[in-house]
Subunit: 282 residues, 2 copies
Amino acid sequence: MSLKEISRNKAFGGQVIKYEHHSNELDCDIKFNVYLPKEADSAPVPAIYFLSGLTCNEDNFIQKSGALVEAAKHGIALIAPDTSPRGVSIQGDSDSWDFGTGAGFYVDATEPSWAKHYRMYSYVVHELPALINKSLPIDGSKVSIMGHSMGGHGALTIFLKNSANYQSVSAFSPIANPINCQWGQKAFTGYLGKNQETWKEYDTVELLKKFNGKVNALVDVGTSDNFLENQLNIDTLKDTVGSLGKSSEWTIRYQPGYDHSYFFISTFIADHIIHHAKALKQ
Amino acid sequence: MSLKEISRNKAFGGQVIKYEHHSNELDCDIKFNVYLPKEADSAPVPAIYFLSGLTCNEDNFIQKSGALVEAAKHGIALIAPDTSPRGVSIQGDSDSWDFGTGAGFYVDATEPSWAKHYRMYSYVVHELPALINKSLPIDGSKVSIMGHSMGGHGALTIFLKNSANYQSVSAFSPIANPINCQWGQKAFTGYLGKNQETWKEYDTVELLKKFNGKVNALVDVGTSDNFLENQLNIDTLKDTVGSLGKSSEWTIRYQPGYDHSYFFISTFIADHIIHHAKALKQ
């Protein structure tokens, strides 16, 4: 396991570096982008992982979110993984934009066709951080996680299942209750099979019901998001948080007139970086 | 001439709107993006045109520059045109990335094959502002212009030829002396023919020698820009400015370690917006 540097661009005093490496979990070569602020030249820095949404790869967040300026201010690294295995050929992996390539859903697949490669959960939780902490000037004890849409689902579920690993969590427009929406049902049927009990291990609302730790979460969603009504189930998340008496641990904001795009993300990304910076610098 | 709205996304309290319209100058349908800050809801606002570089279209700047946050702070609109006619079929227009489609070079072509459609100079200087000032809440008396690479060349030459129309100018990595670099020589030979006297009308260094007005220009270029040595001729621009005794009117900055990419632009875009905001609000 070693990192091959694909490109490097100076930005805000630091460096955006694209790496490629062989992933054992995904059984393929895969890329990610990292933004290292200038502080990383002299000492390991805290980091925030950003998990992207359907159809995205490692580039969208780094190029379009406007996050770098705020990360540079706080001396925090950003890590943007890809969203699925690449270059593997599995029947059906390119038939639709919401399943297969670009749509790994941050689960470890158990269905036979997908189980060999589609292990984005273990890749993001274990393999990639181990590689990064060994190879780059990142302080592995000061790490947070966030994401958008499918990646918001990824960030929230990964946090709830591994809260000791992350100082804070946030999400833009997360698929908050995938077992009860079409995107999630399609993905989980394909990757995990028909036993819906196994799906609950990757559902924010279900995980929250049995979570005992403390959460410090920020969630933003636009009221003009085309997917708000049928896919995201933010109301269900908010109701669950409320009924569990956990409202003080969750800031869930409905942003009037904003949609599902990176224009929405870029408008509120500074708030999210600041949210994580507070937790990472405690 | 009317505007067809293609998409609209809320961002930083304002709106990014993509329009399509028929251009008489270009004799084709063409798109542009505009960012209208929330102040445009109640009164016309100042605007900055951004001219993009080779291979770009109306999206790159709006999606990748990070300019919107700073434009929103100052209540300034951003206008991002395309870089060439689209959907026209001219022999040779797709043979190379630095000529033809995506590479209009902000000239009015005179060579017979190109003269009908490749009139990006008149489109950007006359047709598009007339359409925008008539149709959108833009104060046409408070307009500035900037650009990147080929678009930096466009911004500087258009400013020098029409300085009464613009309050200020700036450029990232401009092709500052195109008659003396391969990109410019290829484009000008193709669009303007072999008489090099006609080329000088689209060359910043040459225009500067006969310019009598006052300039307030900001130019940034990265010292690790792959095109700095052979294509941009920033040293020639700087020397010309100096020999004309105009150094006080030009801020030309060599940014150590930065390259030609949008990561470079995003790092310094706030400085450019502030440069224009000062001029636009006088």
